[in-house]
Each structure stands twice: as structure tokens, then as C-alpha cells.
Symmetry: C2
Subunit: 108 residues, 2 copies
């Protein structure tokens, strides 16, 4: 179960706005230096590339994901997560309710 909050973090006041506002997130750094972002994805289909590996925990709503280099569609609902390799990417589709996530960057 994802945390409802993160304590003792540094949060950037500048939002990350992608795809004309269809994806909005805020970045934070934990006390131990790990980086995360908290985001909202509105209905639509979007492709994200990765630099570092990422773990995407879905905290509200649901989405369909196709990892780069694969053809399988993963259905991820709140409470579940998916891993994305570094220097790769994924296509994510959201329909209906906005989907919210916690993205954790780098190897866990």
C-alpha cells in the first residue's frame, strides 16, 4: 500500500507540466536523497522516456501500460505498480477518472 504522505522531504515549487497539462507532477527529494514525483494523468495516451529506471506506483484510478520493446498491455490499478527499465520508456493510457501515481527514480 503506497504511503499517503512523505515526511522530511524537499519539494520543488515548480510543477512539471506535460502534454499541455494532461500530466502534471511535483518533484520531491527524500531525506536520503532518493527522488520521486507525485503526479496526475488525465484521460489520453502518452509516451514517456526514461533515463534512470523508474517504479510507477498507481495511487488512484487505473491505467494501461505498454513497456517499450514489448507488446503486452499491462492493466495497473490503484495499489499496484510497474517497473520501467532505464534508458527505455512506456506508453500509458488513461480513460475515465484521472490516474495518480508516485514515480520513484533509480534502483529501489
Amino acid at each position: 500500500m503506497e504511503p499517503s504522505s512523505f515526511a522530511n522531504v524537499t519539494v520543488s515549487t515548480k510543477a512539471n507540466v506535460y502534454f499541455d497539462g494532461k500530466v502534471v507532477s511535483h518533484s520531491l527529494i527524500l531525506a536520503d536523497g532518493r527522488k520521486k514525483s507525485l503526479g496526475v494523468i488525465f484521460p489520453g495516451e502518452y509516451h514517456f522516456g526514461t533515463g534512470e529506471p523508474e517504479v510507477m506506483e498507481i495511487t488512484a484510478g487505473a491505467c494501461e501500460v505498454v513497456l517499450d520493446g514489448t507488446s503486452e498491455t499491462l492493466t495497473i490499478s490503484a495499489g499496484n505498480s510497474f517497473d520501467v527499465a532505464g534508458n527505455s520508456g512506456f506508453t500509458i493510457r488513461v480513460a475515465g477518472e484521472p490516474c495518480e501515481y508516485i514515480c520513484s527514480f533509480g534502483t529501489p
Copy 2:
């Protein structure tokens, strides 16, 4: 000049989504207990009511604001702020680029 980040805060992982995603924010609590939210406002016109007094610092973009009970339109651009009395409200209009803000709740 608004801070680019807040250190040593607790941030809620659940986003605040208003007006079908036209306004998105994340809430945080500073070490001293003060509450703030970091938000993005997409083009449109929205009315917000207040419980506690609020200070709205615009950190990106610009907006026009009419405080409840007044008829004057305030034009607020990045780097400037406006105060809203408690138990009141304001109408905010954004055109063009998304407008970003830091909202501080309670008497400063």
C-alpha cells in the same frame, strides 16, 4: 521572490484536482506546522472559497483576480501575490500559459 523548493516538509501523495483537472495541486505541511499547497491553474475562470485566510503567490504565468465583495480586477504576474480574507473567496482567470502558485494557509 518565492522559494524554488521547501525543505523538511511533509507532502501528501494524493493530489487535489479541481474543475475537471483545470486546477491541480499538492498539499504540504512545513516543519513548523504551517500548511501550503503548490498548484497549477490551466486557462479558464474559477471561483475558490476560503476557510482560513490565504496568501496566493504566483510563481509562473499570470492571472486576473477579483476578490469576493470587490469589483476591482487585480492582475497578478509571477513574483507577485494577493491576500484573500478567511471565509471569503476569489474568482481567478487564467489565459494562455498555465499559472502556477504557492498558497499559504492561515495568518502568515
